[in-house]
Point group: C2
Chain length 363, copies 2
């Protein structure tokens, strides 16, 4: 019986996902710089060592310090530089090879506070419209690159693209089209800046793509665990999903065809999928034949959906028969919509087969 | 300048909210049992001491232990009992007066594991359909109460209702109607079980209601901080909102009329408001004349909306002029949609006026 919701990872599956992505990067001549914001875990990070991966990306200064303390020496903070963190960048750059993002030319003036060698990548917006200088703003990019090259402490590290638009794609072919569009942009960029490194992010593109011409560095994160969102995009197979939340059942209501678990917004996050504009789904309870379903009543032959979350409660849609079989005292394995957000809610994972605790970064 | 997103609370406003709710409970003859899942903070809890409040509600065993360690002696775990936690309930009940929820008759059999005196409230579903025995299932309620009264360690503690449906109400009058319906149910319940305590939850009802006949104990939580959701419901005034997230600006894009902050799903949560079916809003950046806007450029005269979140990024819709004024190096105060979920993402608050750190429960 489970006392509280706990996050389980399957080491074997995680290692397989890491191996597959490492081989793919190698095959296409890209350096892999995995994004560690997904797992935020020194041990999971160490599993990349088998594939001679020595560089990583993180999404905050705090995460950069965590991985620096755990021996990582080549760290990219893949998030727009924060002016107030300048002194911290100086401190960190004494210990590791640090790369920062320049995402807005207005931040250039803060480089006068940098007194340690750092690399700076110019973040380029190729259509996602989150952060970065528009790839169409050629003059602005040129000025920024010139400016960076004038600073004695700064090495221009090339260009970074995050194809976050793929998360909103309707499926594999749309992901492929987004990648193809971005490769066109990258081709022009490389023609203008020969030899500049291009770093490219996002798990869907890297999982599904079969042409990465012009990309020097791959920066996927989510692929270590995958999740429902990636499954829905076609970026992974069900057996590649390496993370689930094991939740105590706390009540079942056959008449309204629902089961309630301890497993709410503070565990799964409120990220949802709305397939074909349907009602939001916050997670899937796997069926009894699933590898992660060791304690599931054998009668649960169908996936069930988490259809509502409050702070600590999760509501699962079930049939009358399922709700009669699933009772307080049992536990249900739930695959989250977005494993990065679920993982960030916990201080540790349990390994699925050994049940040992794997500590991770905490809040 | 702010290095990282930090959660600020305004002690003066929190104390005022606590005083107002305490007076209201007293006025209507209800005992106040504040729900501490909102703040999860021993110091904020201690501010209830001025009003002689000695009981509290929490939503997990972990939270119960936290407040027990901080001197609280009368604790209700306002969440369906979890069978696997039976031994922990025994341990906790040695230290405090512990009350549990019975929300599904299938959990009755686990009371055989209880060997310390505990109170048990029967959770009643009056229409929210999250957890609890349906108020219409009169026979089932009767059987459960009889069963509880046969256990030597258990004291029947009455009935608990959570009117969570008010969070989906369209405004003040709908909240009032939901409360009135529930009071009718409570009236019948009290007729059948004279003398049984009725505990009633939810901040909207307790903030807006003016008739609480039959309710013995009030169990609101969110009112200490309030948030955009409560403001939208009419449950609070803008100056009663006591919490905001101060976020570093990391990029601004006047041409696409957006500003980007460090402040994402891991800080604000992905809870959103969709007013009149419009696009989701994840938070409000307050205008320069707001009490929490001390560092805002004076030109920011209008509230701005957070319209998208990724893990660490928040995207704010601005005018071209606003985006020209708001630059990296500045910070923006953001009021979250749901303060409970935002608060659960942090280990501490900063007090707004003194900037001192107020520790809270961590993950």
């Amino acid at each position: 019986m489970t006392e509280s919701p706990e996050l389980y990872i399957n080491e074997e599956v995680v290692r397989r996902n890491i191996e597959k992505m490492s081989r793919k990067a190698l095959h296409y001549g890209m350096q892999l710089r995995p994004h560690f914001k997904t797992h935020q875990c020194a041990e999971v990070a160490s599993w990349f060592g088998d594939h001679h991966i020595s560089r990583c990306a993180v999404s905050s200064l705090k995460m950069a310090w965590y991985f620096a303390r755990h021996g990582w020496k080549d760290i990219l903070i893949a998030f727009p530089l924060i002016p107030a963190q300048a002194e911290e960048y100086n401190r960190l750059a004494q210990q590791v090879s640090l790369t920062l993002f320049l995402s807005d030319p207005n931040s250039l003036r803060f480089f006068s506070m940098i007194r340690q060698p750092v690399k700076v990548m110019v973040e380029i917006d190729t259509g996602h419209h989150r952060t970065g200088i528009g790839v169409w703003e050629e003059e602005k990019i040129w000025q920024v690159v010139q400016h960076l090259q004038q600073n004695q402490f700064i090495e221009f590290g090339g260009f970074a693209v995050h194809a976050g638009e793929t998360y909103h794609c309707s499926g594999e072919s749309a992901v492929g089209e987004a990648l193809a569009r971005n490769l066109q942009h990258i081709k022009k960029l490389k023609a203008r800046y020969p030899g500049a490194c291009v770093s490219y992010g996002d798990t869907p593109s890297l999982s599904l793509g079969a042409d990465f011409e012009g990309i020097d560095e791959a920066r996927p994160g989510n692929f270590v665990f995958y999740d429902l969102m990636q499954l829905n995009l076609g970026a992974c197979d069900p057996e590649e999903i390496a993370l689930h939340l094991l939740c105590p059942v706390v009540a079942s209501y056959p008449q309204r065809k629902q089961v309630v678990i301890h497993g709410g917004a503070v565990h799964l996050s409120k990220e949802y999928l709305s397939i074909n504009g349907g009602e939001p789904v916050y997670g899937h309870v796997v069926a009894a034949n699933h590898a992660y379903a060791e304690n599931m009543p054998a009668g649960i032959k169908e996936t069930m959906e988490v259809i509502a979350l409050s702070q600590e409660h999760g509501i699962i849609r079930a049939t009358h028969g399922q709700a009669q079989q699933i009772l307080p005292g049992q536990s249900l394995p739930v695959i989250p919509v977005h494993s990065c957000l679920a993982a960030s809610q916990f201080n540790y994972y349990r390994e699925m087969k050994t049940r040992r605790i794997i500590p991770k970064m905490s809040l």
